[in-house]
C-alpha cells in the first residue's frame, strides 16, 4: 500500500461560540483512532492538538472546519477558520500569551497554552494567518 493513501477521512464543521458542541469533533477523532487500535501515546497527542485547535475556532472565530485524515504513516489535521486571524503569530505561539476575555477565562480557557501545546505534540505544525480573514493550521502526528 502507498504510504500516502488515505485510509480514513472526515470533515467537521465547527461553529464559533457554540459551547454545546464544542469538543465533539475532537471526541469523534479520538474515538475513531481508539477504535482502530492506535497506540495510547499517539492518541493523547492527537487529542491535545485537535482539542486546542477546535477550541480556538469556538473561542475566537466565526466558523471553521477540521479535515481529519489517516494514512498508513500519520494522522493529519487541517484546521481552517473564518475569523479575525492573528496579527502576530510569533507572539501568539508564546507560552502564556492570550487575548482571552474575562468571560472566556472564567470558563477555564485562556491559559495561553493551546498553540504551544499543539506545537509540542505535533511532529509537523504549520500555522498561517491572515488578519481579518482567518487562520489555517496544518498538524501531523506520525504513527511510528
Amino acid at each position: 500500500m502507498n504510504n500516502n493513501s488515505v485510509l480514513f477521512e472526515e470533515d467537521f464543521k465547527i461553529k464559533g461560540w457554540d459551547f454545546t458542541n464544542a469538543g465533539e469533533a475532537s471526541l469523534k477523532i479520538k474515538n475513531y483512532l481508539k477504535e482502530v487500535g492506535i497506540a495510547e501515546n499517539i492518541l493523547k497527542r492527537v487529542a491535545i492538538t485537535s482539542y486546542e485547535a477546535e477550541m480556538n475556532i469556538v473561542l475566537y472565530a466565526k466558523e471553521g472546519t477540521i479535515n481529519f485524515k489517516v494514512t498508513p504513516k500519520k494522522v493529519l489535521l487541517e484546521v481552517k477558520d473564518r475569523g479575525p486571524g492573528i496579527e502576530d503569530v510569533e507572539l501568539a505561539m508564546k507560552e502564556g500569551y492570550s487575548t482571552a476575555t474575562e468571560e472566556i477565562r472564567n470558563m477555564g480557557f485562556g491559559a495561553g497554552m493551546g498553540l504551544p501545546n499543539i506545537k509540542k505534540n505535533a511532529d509537523m505544525f504549520v500555522i498561517k494567518s491572515e488578519p481579518g480573514k482567518g487562520t489555517k493550521l496544518n498538524i501531523e502526528v506520525y504513527l511510528k
Binding site: 469538543g23 471526541l27 487529542a47 477555564g108 480557557f109 497554552m113
Partner: protein
C-alpha cells in the same frame, strides 16, 4: 482505589453518571485550566476543580477522566450535568476546598 470508595470516604454528592462510579482511579489532578488538564492529567485520574461550565465534560471525556470533583460547594449548570450523563463522566460535589480534597486523596494513596 475504586471511585465508589472515594465517594464514600470523602462524602461526595454524586449528581451525574451515578452508574459509572464502579471504576478504578489511577491518580489525581488539580487544575482549573482546561489546557493544563488536556496536557498533563493522566488517564483514569480523578480531576479536582472549581470549574463547572459544560466544557469540563469534553475535556474529561477526551482524557478518560474517572470522575470530576467540583469543590467549594459550587453547583454546575444543567448543561454540565446533562453532558456528564451523556459522556458517562461521574460529577461529584464537595463543600470542601481543593486543597483539603487533594490532601485526603493523597493520604488515601492516590497520587499525581
Amino acid at each position: 482505589m475504586n471511585l465508589k470508595q472515594i465517594i464514600e470516604k470523602l462524602n461526595l454528592k454524586v449528581i451525574a453518571a451515578e452508574d459509572s462510579v464502579d471504576v478504578e482511579v489511577k491518580g489525581g489532578y488539580v487544575s482549573d485550566l482546561l489546557s493544563d488538564v488536556m496536557a498533563n492529567a493522566r488517564n483514569k485520574s480523578i480531576w479536582i476543580t472549581l470549574q463547572m461550565h459544560q466544557n469540563i465534560i469534553a475535556v474529561a471525556s477526551l482524557k478518560e477522566i474517572a470522575g470530576i470533583i467540583i469543590v467549594n460547594g459550587r453547583k454546575p449548570d444543567e448543561e454540565t450535568i446533562k453532558k456528564a450523563e451523556e459522556q458517562k463522566i461521574p460529577l461529584l460535589l464537595s463543600d470542601l476546598p481543593a486543597f483539603e480534597i487533594a490532601g485526603m486523596l493523597y493520604s488515601m494513596g492516590i497520587s499525581g
